[in-house]
Symmetry: C2
Subunit: 317 residues, 2 copies
């Protein structure tokens, strides 16, 4: 079995940055991922809000992150962690090929957007189908877009998209929204119209989104709407399976709970990236990975520090 | 007077990223800085831990950040904020040339490393003289380095540098250290030697650090030591003047206090970057800027949200 100071699970921006920082701090580290490195970054058509790159293809940025991390740390791709146990004070992470033993674990397992599961959704992803208004809204300024959902996130997305200049319609399968009243008030004040009791049956387009086929669940009526983008906000699930197996506490919203230093409720277990919630940007995920690695370094180097939050200042500067 | 949704003070990674995110979210924003854009980034000889750039000259990265931000937001350089007041619910920021009115303010004013004030220190900065072991330590692996100071930061730096493979000596002007015992134990366990009761009188070098001239304060003895780098850890002061004028609370360590969403104790005032403390990396500063801008957007768009921390989730995804 291979022994490490820290085993990082997840090779998105959070995990890769944790790898860079862990090794630079002198820790022996490895990064494991069930898929390929880069996380959701690689799926984005263009990223314009990661400082330093005015506009970059998601695949290219993912590649840059990966190559940067590879200068420091081994990355095992397509090797999902299938089980974990604690043994002699170490964390053992089992994959289908190997076992990795770590004095600490950084959980950067990300989250999955819930999908509609309708025709066109997968094929047109990144070509008008999006699960992230903050990431992609900017590309549809002045265009007609549809937001799917009825919760806080969906209504927040609709407001956000309207605010940046999209022509927004919301579609919801019921006759009332789950979102908070304040948000709903704001949305109606902004003249965002809602298609009630209706579901998207198909997303239509040739190479890019051109419209949607909508069915009214009460009347059964089916119609086609022309538009340029569909933002799907029907919830998402952080990948907290590993965190739960390790006994780490979750938040009310089912994210992995961390403090400001990315420490979870379990000693020597840290969290970073989408799995911990927050604003979920590439830049924040990377920063959380850096912070998690520095905290692991600190706790492994000087366990006394962690008893008092402010004592972490000793590491700074 | 020019009216903005948010006035961002400080054009380092935190302020510039806040500018990008604020404008992308639909806010009218401006960035002010008393110096030139880029902050401390521009002073670093090489940056190897900002994900996406395996190794980049600090000046170049600062330039990239600035140009990226300029796509979205006006930046006023060499225009220090001299005063501020509240007027009709808006924040008025006065510079020597203009007044800027903002519904919100993002404070990203950074911090200043305290200097020794000895010959050679300024000339050899970035050429072996450093104020940041995490940033620059890696370049001196296997080399002889000196850490100046006796507090938690200095001893933490010495441990960090030893851990990554530098040959470390600490120099302190007294006969005992202020650092916590646990840290001192660790340092002595790691065989880091200390030059007691002594001060650096001069940093010597031709183009890069070659050694230091040291004076023992008790015996008056002066000697020269050959080495490759001097890490100066004699404290630092966050630039909190503006924060204090706005009435924002500071931490025990004199940093600007913020919550996870970068909100200060004053409504519509946010903090990001070195001024708020933490691990003080470029990547974390940028992430904090992004988060601060998204919180400003949220609070300006829907002030009800901020009454309950978890309601911010409504913005996510």
């Amino acid at each position: 079995m291979d022994d490490y100071d820290t085993v990082i699970v997840g090779a998105g921006p959070a995990g890769l940055t944790a790898g860079i920082y862990a090794v630079r701090a002198g820790l022996k580290a490895i990064v494991l991922d069930g898929k390929t490195a880069g996380g959701l970054v690689g799926e984005s058509p263009a990223i314009e809000n990661y400082p330093g790159f005015q506009s970059i293809d998601g695949m290219k940025l993912a590649e840059k992150f990966k190559n940067h991390a590879l200068r420091y740390v081994k990355i095992k791709e397509i090797e999902p962690v299938t089980d974990t146990r604690k043994e002699n004070g170490r964390f053992i992470l089992k994959t289908d090929r190997n076992e990795y033993s770590g004095k600490s674990v950084i959980i950067a397992t990300g989250s999955e957007h819930r999908h509609l599961g309708v025709p066109g959704e997968e094929e047109l992803y990144g070509r008008g189908v999006s699960y992230c208004s903050t990431c992609d809204g900017f590309f549809f300024k002045g265009k007609k877009v549809l937001v799917v959902g009825g919760g806080n996130t969906a209504v927040g997305d609709a407001i956000y998209l309207k605010g940046i200049g999209c022509d927004v319609t919301l579609i919801h399968r019921r006759d009332s929204l789950r979102a908070e009243k304040a948000l709903q008030d704001k949305m109606f004040f902004m003249d965002i119209s809602v298609i009630w009791d209706s579901v998207v049956e198909e997303i239509i387009g040739n190479g890019k989104v051109g419209g949607v086929r909508i069915r009214n669940k009460k009347t059964g009526e089916v119609k086609t709407e022309e538009l340029s983008a569909v933002f799907i906000s029907v919830g998402e699930s952080p990948n907290t399976e590993l965190a739960k197996k390790l006994g780490a506490r979750l938040t009310e919203d089912s994210y992995l709970q961390v403090d400001r230093w990315m420490r979870t409720s379990v000693r020597y277990v840290y969290g970073a990236g989408d799995v911990i919630g927050g604003v979920k940007q590439i830049i924040t995920a990377a920063a959380e990975g850096a912070t998690a690695a520095l905290s692991a370094y600190e706790d492994l180097t000087n366990p006394y520090w962690k008893k008092e939050e402010k004592s972490v200042e000793g590491f700074e500067a």
